[in-house]
Amino acid sequence: MSEAPLLAVENLSVAMGATPVLEDVSFQIAPGETLGLVGESGCGKSVTALSVMRLLPNPPGKFLGGRILFDGTDMLSLDIAALRAIRGDRIGMIFQEPMTSLNPVYTIGDQIGESLIVHRGMNGSAARTETAKLLDLVGIPAARNQLDRYPHELSGGQRQRVMIAIALACRPKLLIADEPTTALDVTVQAQILDLIGRLRVELGMAVLLITHDLGVVAEFCDRVAVMYAGRIVEEAPSAELFRNPRHRYTEALLHTMPAANPPGRKLPSISGTVPAPADRGAGCIFAARCRFAIPRCSTDLPPLTEPPHRLRCWNPA
Amino acid sequence: MTTTTPAVTTAILPPRRLIARTLGTPGAVAGSIILVLLVFGALFASLLSPFDPNATRVCPRLAAPSLTNFFGCDLFGRDIFSRILHGAQLSLAVGLLTVAISLIAGTIIGMVIAFLGGRVDRIGVRMLDVMLGFPAIVLAILIVAVLGVGAFNAALAVGISGIPRIARVIRSATLTLVGREYVDSARAVGASQTRILRRHLLPNLWPIVIVLGSLDLGTAILSTATLSFLGLGAQPPTAEWGAMLSAGREFMRYAPWTMIFPGLALFLAVMSVNLVGDRLSHVLDPRASGHV
């Protein structure tokens, strides 16, 4: 990448209590670029996202090392006031749980407008006008009289649209979307993804799109990072990754995609489970589940190679 | 008003393990020590008292605490220490009586309405809820108005006013049991209704009953003493803590010990019972913690 990255995570290590959950995680996102972060549930995607926003609950979350450079400043070194100025203004975030992520006792108009009041110093009525525009933007029709509705009056998909409106209220440079569609109906999933895709272009934002669905990645992302047990194991431009997956874990993930299998048949899944942190040896953590593991895999940790196609494997495809 | 349903623990621990587990926290140990001293003092009040609690003029009126009269003397020259020891007897007895009344009546009512179900249950629950809408002290005072004043009547009044809450909890607990297999099979083999209630339901309710009782005993002691303080319970010259406090109120300017020691005794008694009861309920049922 020639351009200065908007976000650069460098060698980030995080522990939850005594358990290390992120180890030596590095990736970059250029302005306007969309990076997909994929991996099985529990591999550390949400922890990564929350770390960038410095929203990890502490305790148990602890930063053990690394840097998170947003627009050149290290998020880990910022004081709380500087951090607040970035959160919600220059980085927006949407979460996996639309049903519980909105405050049940305030109207959606209030919750969207709040960012504008806090960051843009708008008064109530200016915020209201702007909020109505935002609701239009995220595709909630007849926006004006929707402002006074409460979250419990909306469907899951509509709530996620409201979350998107909140995240985008201040036109952030970066949107972090942590499995934004996982909790939604299949038909609604596509609508929400379309919306994010469209707004990304309209607003020229960079997006960190977290998902465990490779199909979503293929459709939306410029580049993909694959995570396994707290480490990035492979990273490449999407087209390259799908055409030429090299890590055995990535390969296995691709085989579990619906498109890779005859319709009507039960999807295959990767056999075995992620070993608990206590049971991990010195080598590649995937070795225990890998059909192509060689002796070296369980003794030495493979290093991550350089871009454009980064890889952490001793015996790649 | 909240009524919580403790989980139904079907097995009671053997007594020795129960005691060991109950003594598991510093608070419970402190509570147990005070409680044991208190029970000891109450049981042997007559032996331990240096004076007859009701004998007047055993010391100068309102005399300060001294080596002969540890807690001083009241207006009539009675020895406060001796009166407090005898008061322990009365307080514990009255507290136990009160709790027994609430538990026995509350358990029977709760079991029966849940067991009969249907309209009996609906009307019963409605009545219990209305009763729970009376502030506890008002209900007790209303009952005293009917029964008349006196230590026994105060115990009765506090006991009766505690019935609705117990009945409500026992009803919910019984409902969870009524659907169980052994109740159905007992019904199938034609066991009589009272037999099912006694042999199949009651044994399973014991742990809850014990938890409720241990949580209520402290409140019972406090409430009956309150009624006596208000002049609605034990009457002078009975050696009773609440009544002693009421008398001591008027002389506290000259003889603060007349109100300090009875109040301290009452506080320690209630606290020790609460500490032990709270812990006991934890041990018998981890979910029923903290509703004192």
């Binding site: 405050n103 | 008002v138 108005a145 609460n274």
Partner: protein, 307 residues
Amino acid sequence: MPWFVRRVLGIVPTLFLTWTIVFGVLQLIPGDPVMLALGGTPASDEVLDNERRRLGLDQPVYIQYLTFLKKMAIGDLGNGYSSKQPVSEMIAARVRPSLELALGGLLVGILLGVALGIAAGLRPHGWIDTMTMSTALVGVSLPSFWIGMLLIYVFGLQLEWVPILGDGIDALILPSITIGLFLAGGLARLIRSALIETMTQDYIRTAHSKGLSAVRVVAKHAMRNAIIPPITLLGLQFAVLIGGAVVTERVFARAGLGSMLIDAVLTKDIPLVQGLVVYTTTAYIVINLLLELLYGIVDPRIRSRRA
């Protein structure tokens, strides 16, 4: 039907049942009510019969009951035996001192309980939390009349900081503290647990992700969700208190509804006892209703819930 109309109508049967219980219980008082009404003075049969007729006690019980319900519904509580005054007027004269004390106690309780509860809830197991919670645990065992007396002894008699009698505002200080201390323990515990539970909710994370200040997150986003249990406690305690802080009034020799109730019981003034209990329980039920209406305002989900 709008939710609040449904709620308001819902208390009618409760009021009816409550009044019925009061009437029923008082029927059980042993002795001839006419004798009690005459204060035990010996009287001829003729006088007794006249009095009986005047009080409606010659009617069968069910007629008396219906008359009672009718009178309650229009707020006629009858005349007291000893004073011969209308009970409603006697009660009205005592409402003020009891209300003052209730408000004073509530104020102290809220100031103390809210501050400690929030401090404890934001830092569970910190030192404020540990201290507040162990004090609260011990505090539930403290007889409030003893605390009241100790306060009088220390601050009134020894230090002479505050008067212990009189009806000025400063005479309210110690009784308010007595009640407030008692309220604060329970309140702090409730606020603490509600806040701890609320602070782990997803919408709190959302609020932080918007870049809001910690104060705004707690005061706006957490408190409104955590506030229903504490409001309930305060409301119910207030409901009990406006019926008279029986014990505290006694300790501080205040003439309120509580001390009136005790005197009425001791003198067997049945109409007065009946009137006071009806007033207290009705106030309790009405405040309960107001609380439910308040929940609806605080939490929109309650408004839209179907019956």
